[in-house]
């Protein structure tokens, strides 16, 4: 089952869509880096092949908070597609500064790591 991910603002407007959830979260992080709070009220929606929404909307601020605290882990699932899941706590430095690799790595590095992860070469579960 392939999924699509849509970033939608609070007025229901599609702002961007993605084949991978990790790319959607990368985009959220990139936007927030440039314009803090720009994605307030945005949600990430997941759709299946049949166009049905899967599960509940995921709020951008919640996803960003998880990423900030290092609580999102990238895992590889079937069909080579990736998912972020809430992982075990403990990655936070406790300093209030992000320990998330999504905040620390430039996007190209993150994408390279993701590609390696999907290939089962690093950190995949």
């Amino acid at each position: 089952m392939a999924y699509e991910y849509a970033l939608v603002d609070k007025d229901g407007r599609l702002r961007e869509d993605f084949d991978r959830k990790s790319d959607a979260i990368d985009e959220l992080i990139s936007i927030e880096r440039e314009q803090p709070d720009a994605t307030a009220g945005w949600m990430l929606l997941t759709y299946d092949d049949a166009g049905r929404q899967v599960g509940e909307p995921e709020w951008a601020d919640h996803l960003l908070a998880l990423a900030t605290k290092g609580l999102l882990r990238f895992v590889t699932v079937s069909e080579g597609r990736g998912l972020f899941v809430a992982g075990s706590p403990g990655a936070s430095s406790g300093t209030g500064r992000s320990t998330s690799p999504w905040f620390r790595r430039p996007p190209k590095v993150a994408k390279r790591t993701r590609a390696l992860s999907e290939a089962g070469m690093v950190g995949a579960q």
């Binding site: 849509a6 970033l7 961007e16 990139s30 314009q35 009220g41 092949d49 166009g51 909307p57």
Partner: protein
């Protein structure tokens, strides 16, 4: 960015039905028109919007009534989360028939989420509404 995200804006060349969430249950074009204005244009902040700023001159619509109902439900959830639980409670789904040669453009990337972008004069778009549907499966008005 690959071609997957290339803008595919085209003039409407055949009758096309789309669905738009509106905040009125009155099938009056003057009351519907504000919901077809691209005013309060958000900033171009996603990568695709920066590449194609005209996206934000368009109106986001859904391909099916079912998807529009989900959109309305999500908008209500977002409003409720903002402490505005009354917002969109009277929201309806406008069924819009885009006819050729009316100056309408659209972009339908045929994605699973069913969201499309349409462009056109807001008065003409409001005039193209043929029916209003409630959030459930009732219909509120018909031409």
């Amino acid at each position: 960015m690959g071609d997957r995200k290339q803008l595919k804006r085209k003039p409407v060349t055949e009758a096309t039905i789309v669905y738009r969430v509106v905040g009125t249950s009155d099938l009056n074009s003057a009351l519907l028109e504000p919901y077809f204005r691209p005013e309060d244009k958000p900033q171009e902040i996603t990568a695709r919007e920066k590449r194609y700023p005209e996206l934000l001159d368009g109106i986001c619509v859904d391909s099916s009534i079912e998807q529009a109902r989900i959109t309305l439900s999500n908008m209500r959830k977002a409003a409720s989360r903002d402490g505005e639980s009354e917002k969109w409670q009277d929201g309806c789904i406008a069924e819009v028939v885009l006819q050729p040669d009316q100056g309408f453009d659209h972009e339908n990337r045929k994605k699973s989420h069913g969201k499309q972008t349409i462009w056109g004069d807001s008065t003409n778009l409001a005039g193209a509404v043929c029916r209003l549907h409630q959030a459930d499966d009732r219909m509120t008005g018909e031409d």
